[in-house]
Subunit: 117 residues, 4 copies
């Protein structure tokens, strides 16, 4: 995925509409949380099995795909405004998580997993 | 960014810890929303100007970078479980948004923007 | 519950700490969403049955009770700043919901329920 | 506010529609977070001053009042399912907060406030 290209399209999009005044890190974090909640809404009354089965429901998947896009759009925009490289941040975090959750401990320790993931 | 590679690392990470049982679309949407809220917390008491200024605050930026990574990690994992290609979903959404918010209307119409973004 | 009394204690608490500058409706809505997400975190990796069983887990219940309090505190504070009477708003909403979800339709129609609750 | 009466109305409402199957603590925490995010959406593109000024905007206030009601409804329902008395939880939390944020320290220490509210 070409994140820089997406970020630059989003920056042009905002600039053309003079929306940079609205796109402060604070406001973008709110928009991101609001979009994440729309994903949540798709699943809120479904059982775990039903939540897996939505893969076969075209209407729900159209909606889910759009909400995933919205979350990424605001995340990319926020990362751009803060100067954060998403990929390197993610790779560093995966490494940290590997230390935090060693296989032997994490595998047989759902309680610990529940406490902190 | 190599999203497929990240998704495959995350899949291995989960499999090694037998965490797939926890990683239903429903639970991942909850974890995503919870991480988005941690980003929100960074900004909740800051003014817009202070929220821009955190770029110069190393401690806050370390935290912000980690939370951005966490949001992306759960988003990538959820997209993987649902079979959604994030990049194509994002490009489609940007196109839709361009139709929904034509420059001439959006530029001088903050009210409309407030109503529906 | 004496909501007015709670709101007035919270107002005094904020005034004594000169926190009214932070307690704009916008910021309070962020704090409320962040606290709601902390409740979410308690349940994110639990099955539905496990989520019911936390009633018997003292440690989790101490945490849950605190998060419920935090959500109410910010809701009460926001309602106070906006001049909204929570009880009358709730009673009106219950009435609206009764019209929106007539028993005969809602009972045998989980799909509709899933779409819009 | 008669919380017990509201909770008992909500319990009847759910029972009549056979919705108790959906109202697990887990699902209610999701619905609560989703409603809190709808409050967030009202404020996401507003400045702090605009967020205060919505008190004079009837249309926004109708919406805000409804979202406040929705948040309380799910909070009351969750507290009921978990056997938590909201009022006593809130009074205990206010007492804890008074110890955690002594006036002398909190007043001249916005940084600390930013770190942990």
């Amino acid at each position: 995925m070409n994140v820089e290209d997406i970020q630059s399209r989003l920056a042009v999009f905002a600039r053309e509409r003079t929306w940079d005044q609205f796109h402060t890190p604070k406001n973008l974090s709110m928009a991101l949380a609001a979009e994440a909640a729309e994903l949540l809404e798709i699943f809120q009354w479904l059982s775990d099995d039903q939540s897996k089965a939505i893969v076969g429901n075209e209407e729900e998947m159209v909606l889910g795909r759009e909400e995933i896009a919205d979350v990424f759009i605001y995340l990319a925009r926020l990362a751009d405004k803060l100067g954060v490289d998403i990929e390197s941040a993610v790779l560093d975090k995966i490494e940290q998580n590997a230390k935090k959750y060693p296989v032997e401990l994490a595998r047989d320790n759902a309680t610990k997993y529940n406490k902190r993931c």
